[in-house]
Amino acid sequence: MGKLVLKIKTIVIYAVLLYFIFLQGQGSCAQICSEDFLWLEQGETAMERDGSLTQKIYLKSNNNKFSVDDMSEVSVTYYCQTRSGLREAYILPIQHDDGNYYVQALAKHKNNYCEVVVSGYYKSVLYTAQTLFTLYADAFDKNKKLNLIESKNKEYLPYIFAQTKNRVRTGQPLEFIYKSHEKAVADVHIFEKEKGFLTAMKTNENGYFSYTAPEDDYLNKMGNSAYRTLIIRVKGKTADKPSINTLSFPIYRDYNGEIDKKQAFVLFIITFLIAVIGVLHYRRRFKLK
């Protein structure tokens, strides 16, 4: 009888604990997910006749709570850097089509490492959104000037600096530095466009934080060009005003994480030995004939 009571008590305690954990989780996610932020989604690319490449970047707000029309002092800067180090910066005009706001990034060179930075105020909060992407163009006239205003902004604050210039992959430790006017610990929330809120963390006093995207079965199954969109949101302060900053980029499947060299070597040796035995056997048979 005593044992039964003990068992029931244990089950009740675990049930209550699970209930609280569940509620707590729901509460935090609901709170984090409902907070406003601006982010950039990469759209389709199109190759122009002359070999230059355009990429649509859509300006989106979390839960579609506000749009670019509701914001003030909106600016869009586009940075493009080639492998050889040539760097260009332009101010992009915001375009509107079917209820979507977008900008069009354009590249002329091969291997461009590009970034679009959008900033603007909404209800006295500074919202910034950055996105990183690579473009592979091959324009006939690579020195042709674009019909855009060149940007003179050399440094942008607040800014999430990503220490990577290649395709970002799952399983790869990603390091970031959040730069703002004030050195302080800031809240970081990581989302995936497809999965929603993933995790929360804090920067250190220098703004440093890191994140490693876990292996993803969907990406592993879908192939090398399939990707998910990772959104990193940092809540900080800029000149005593709150700022909400995001950095988004596509994340691809791990290139090296699923490979096994040892098993390949074993397979190679086994096949090698079987082939040698086969050759010796064939040679002996051939000779006897």
């Binding site: 499947r253 090698f272 082939a275 050759v279 051939f286």
Partner: protein, 309 residues
């Protein structure tokens, strides 16, 4: 003498095509030989790689076909044709880095005093069509991926099972492609096949001279331009004594040169233009390699007495 010259050219080509990129050499996408693009710092790209990337004449990238890069694709195809017409099978016998690697294995076997394996003609005739199968894969798979809904992991299918991709990067210290890829079932099966083919190629090339060349899909592609090639391989049938030296020396065991009794032009699809048959022919001016009307190398009794003691 020709053999030594060939060895030097092969060594030089191997160095340029495998490591040339490290000193800024880039010979483009049109090379009619296995200059593996997966070797980090390679000096040029195998045309089969480009053919798979864009499809025949860029057909797998239809949206780009009327753009400047589309025009460049056509130019790469034209350049391939020009390079093939210019040097024909010399690409295989003298320049191909993967062929050179196979020749090194043959040299090792000879040093060890191990006899080459002999195959029946029936075996040769059975395996000959395999290169056309590989060529079919190269031509069809890019179109199936672009328009037939084939899984993206079949991209560059031939490259990914090619032993060149598994073995040549090892010379640059890269082991990435000598691995099994467990990302999904398709990548695993492809990587298993690639390792098995690589192991069979190493053993095969050790026991049989230019083993993989018997299956190489580049050979039929080069052969397509045979009519327009500036290099010709001719035989004077009336001066041939039928000694069979040409057949015995041929790394590909080509029968056509020995057996031809009527036609003057004797370059077969399997010929690599290594010129071993011309070197070993004891009859004056019976076998000749020509560039346009100019004789590059011709058989002579004098050459044999000087070089074969």
């Amino acid at each position: 003498m020709i053999s030594k010259l060939r060895m030097i050219v092969q060594f030089f080509s191997f160095a340029v095509l495998n490591y040339g990129g490290r000193i800024g050499i880039n010979l483009g996408f049109s090379l009619p030989c296995f200059a593996c693009p997966f070797v980090s710092g390679c000096g040029g790209y195998c045309f089969l790689f480009y053919l798979q990337r864009v499809g025949l004449f860029g057909a797998a990238n239809w949206s780009q076909i009327f753009t400047y890069p589309g025009l460049k694709t056509i130019l790469w195809f034209i350049l391939f044709a020009v390079l093939v017409m210019l040097l024909s099978k010399t690409w295989c016998g003298w320049i191909c880095p993967f062929g050179t690697m196979q020749d090194w294995l043959t040299m090792l076997r000879k040093k060890l005093g191990i006899r080459e394996i002999e195959w029946s003609w029936k075996t040769y005739d059975t395996i000959k069509p395999l290169k056309y199968l590989f060529l079919g894969v190269i031509l069809v798979v890019p179109l199936l991926i672009a328009y037939g809904g084939m899984h993206q992991d079949f991209y560059l299918l031939f490259c990914r099972i090619c032993p060149g991709r598994t073995l040549l990067p090892l010379f640059a210290g890269q082991t990435r492609f000598f691995s099994l890829d467990f990302a999904n079932d398709i990548t695993l099966v492809i990587s298993v096949i690639s390792i098995i083919i690589a192991a069979i190629t190493v053993v095969g090339s050790f026991f049989k001279e230019r083993f993989f060349c018997l299956f190489c899909p580049m050979l039929p592609l080069i052969q397509m331009f045979k009519k327009y090639s500036l290099i010709t391989f001719e035989k004077k049938v009336d001066t041939c004594s039928g000694c069979g030296n040409c057949l015995r020396m041929c790394p590909m065991d080509v029968r056509e040169v020995h057996e031809e009794k009527e036609k003057a032009k004797v370059m077969s699809p399997e010929c690599l233009l290594c010129m071993k048959c011309v070197e070993s022919c004891p009859e004056d001016k019976t076998l000749t390699i020509k560039f346009l009307q100019y004789k590059i190398f011709t058989s002579s009794r004098e050459y044999i007495t000087k070089n074969f003691k």
